[in-house]
Symmetry: D2
Subunit: 269 residues, 4 copies
Amino acid sequence: MIRVTIWYEYVQEAGYVTPELEAALPEEWKARMHEWLPQNSERIRRAYPNGLMESLAKYLRKNPEFTVTMTNLMMPDYGLSDELLDNTDVLIYWSHVLQTVLPDEAAYRVVKHVQAGMGFVPLHSAHQSKPFMYLLGTTGTLRWREGDFCRVWTAAPGHPITEGIPEYIELSEEEMYGEPFDIPKPDDTVFISWFSGGEVFRSGCTWTRGYGRIFYFQPGHETSPSYHNPYILRIIENGVRWAAPVRMRESFECPHIVYSPEDARRPKN
Amino acid sequence: MIRVTIWYEYVQEAGYVTPELEAALPEEWKARMHEWLPQNSERIRRAYPNGLMESLAKYLRKNPEFTVTMTNLMMPDYGLSDELLDNTDVLIYWSHVLQTVLPDEAAYRVVKHVQAGMGFVPLHSAHQSKPFMYLLGTTGTLRWREGDFCRVWTAAPGHPITEGIPEYIELSEEEMYGEPFDIPKPDDTVFISWFSGGEVFRSGCTWTRGYGRIFYFQPGHETSPSYHNPYILRIIENGVRWAAPVRMRESFECPHIVYSPEDARRPKN
Amino acid sequence: MIRVTIWYEYVQEAGYVTPELEAALPEEWKARMHEWLPQNSERIRRAYPNGLMESLAKYLRKNPEFTVTMTNLMMPDYGLSDELLDNTDVLIYWSHVLQTVLPDEAAYRVVKHVQAGMGFVPLHSAHQSKPFMYLLGTTGTLRWREGDFCRVWTAAPGHPITEGIPEYIELSEEEMYGEPFDIPKPDDTVFISWFSGGEVFRSGCTWTRGYGRIFYFQPGHETSPSYHNPYILRIIENGVRWAAPVRMRESFECPHIVYSPEDARRPKN
Amino acid sequence: MIRVTIWYEYVQEAGYVTPELEAALPEEWKARMHEWLPQNSERIRRAYPNGLMESLAKYLRKNPEFTVTMTNLMMPDYGLSDELLDNTDVLIYWSHVLQTVLPDEAAYRVVKHVQAGMGFVPLHSAHQSKPFMYLLGTTGTLRWREGDFCRVWTAAPGHPITEGIPEYIELSEEEMYGEPFDIPKPDDTVFISWFSGGEVFRSGCTWTRGYGRIFYFQPGHETSPSYHNPYILRIIENGVRWAAPVRMRESFECPHIVYSPEDARRPKN
């Protein structure tokens, strides 16, 4: 049984922000937000009537191997309480417009849980979410443009995350993310994408941090229908299974070993 | 010409802390500090009469390829001003007892400069310095014990950092740091150390973050004479040369590419 | 169900070589062999009365998840027929004194099967077996000495191969293998060993070649009792499970794609 | 001073094969060869009147840092004698139609020299040359098609091989090589290419084998003018400088260390 938690902003779908979130917004956004969020809400709901992550949640719930909890930025503790994370094996994480609003202490709760063994599957624009940047130590910058055709190539066809996935997948419309992608060298470059405007992108990458495994996957712009594509869903499912922890780290101390292993081995008299 | 900046705490050598640093100390340390620092000062000065980094600075200054600036935690801006970092090609960094006292904004100045291309050579106990942890995304935890004999093995003998270094180096007394060392997979594991108490340690490791290169090197406990050892000095010199930037990153934006490369290639009419 | 094949030389245990193997020996060995093999046979049988791999086979057979086939160098096709390898998910491979006697075509049958997805678990002295060297492209050289105490440290405690394994394992007597170990950078350095004579060694390493995964593990000198140690057996079991193929590669051609994906996407009229 | 050797087939440019090479050809090629080579010769000479590598040689020779030797498959010892390789710091290697004709012993001379420290820069179709496959342990397979537009993206802009290279380079016509590219995980993925037919490719990759460094670079189909492009020339120049050896390995033995480092350290009486 893998306990999956899906976290996302939900702010755009909701069409409003809580007072707590609003207070944390940069001044210049506050005015735009009230106008802009309802518009975006409509655009997202056209592709995902019940919210961006509903389709993925439904897909994963069909599999008795998973229990799925949904949570979001608008909930208490920003939807990322220690209690919830303590009961999460793999955290799927989608964020975009309010990435900087998440307080550092919430971001570090995610970081700490990954270092302790929790799997982490940041999606799409989470390439500049705080947990992603804090775990990788890079800026996550890239080129971008809305509205390209995208072809996702399987670059590591023996990798568990590619199980059941063909040589390539075509997405009729996705947001272009292009190289250079400012990330540490991935452990595995599982997918590389081709965009019709002329760019390429390492769109499926893995890393390890502490006991935890990370799988970043690029598709999933909020107004593109990618999370209805069965291959995209399968890749995320594979990623969740791959990122599930082997064991959890319990202490984060640097143990002071006064009595050394060689002391212990020496004959006592 | 490589502009090298050597940054260290200098607090132990000085035997006191500035009021600014003192204010930032955890309560339980404040009392101990006044008693403990003068004692430590004496111990360090026994091995390094002019401060821990003096020997290294002197060694590097002999080489006309380098210009060397020394700075420390007790200086304005914690010795890590943007102006200084802007004029640094490679930052050698030693910290220990006051790692947590360095404010996040100073640590992030280092992080940003590394991401932009500045080389970074954290030494010994800097494995839990803020810049090291923030760049790597891991805790840097390890086992430790003072007073072991240490043998540093060259594990990657073709690597530039090993130039002029024999198969192994012996240090009659070093602080033991032992595995598991909580770091991301190194790009290169250049050295692995053997300790007389029974532990092993990846004591020379490299990573890349953004345009910047990082070389961590373990020897250098403040009361051990390692920075007088000519091989240790040579390794750090090699590391500095290896970490010197190729070019600097200028913008940290995610460029919005409305007019795509393929748009540009299409014949205009 | 994972189909495990355990291949080893068995020549030392048998105390003789087949005429076919003898013909392939270097001249200077032929005389020594008849004297030396019976002596070695006795030494191995003291530690492993039924042959070096019997204890491991027995251990794996207890697990209904595995079917285990044993084969060796003295069998037809050197115990490495295409038919057998076609029916193998993971090949455990131990070789030593007759490594060079295995013909290239047999070694390349192993290489091809690994590239197609078969897991490969070379043990101990297989660091200079032909399949190991041909898959990695390096010489596998190292320092060696018989009869050290050995402490195997878990360097990657979140890795699946470390499941159930403590911080370190002690082996009262093992052959020392020491750095520099001439291997490509491992995907994961899972274990690092400490030897009483003063050396260190990356004793558990993984790589990927094509669709296949490789786990090298150092303990297992033929006269040391390491394959009776429950932790060593568990590590090999974990390695087998980790190396089991996700899917198999079927063609090794470079496909000539005359009709491109973009041709296929263009509207036909 | 870096001693660069440029090795290529030259067979297509010459328009004929030596009797020695002809004898080694597969039967079905022999007939085609006499018809096909003169045709190809004409096509190559249209792009490169003095042979495919003449333009690169001329470019490198302008730099007093390099001495350049040209050699090819049609010369004695297949242009790859031990004497020549002993005097080579970096070997640039282009091969295509006669890759399988090179005998294993010549290929292994290259392999051994790389393992000893010689830099190796295989170009384009050398992805299935024997030295490339033997050093990497993979098949080098990929998708291919002649005649695409190609855009080479700089994926690792801080890497020394990218010095002086812009964000991307456009090649009006190159042979398409597409993923999945069957290679071990590169140490660095320096360039990723976009092809107009819809494919992507890791077109600039590095690895280390023994003391030697390898840089594979994809552009350079024999009828495309890529080796006249100043950026392509600069990348190869950068690759040569990056791959130049730090020091050479002298022995390939596994030293038997009877008297251990700890024996040496113990007080004698």
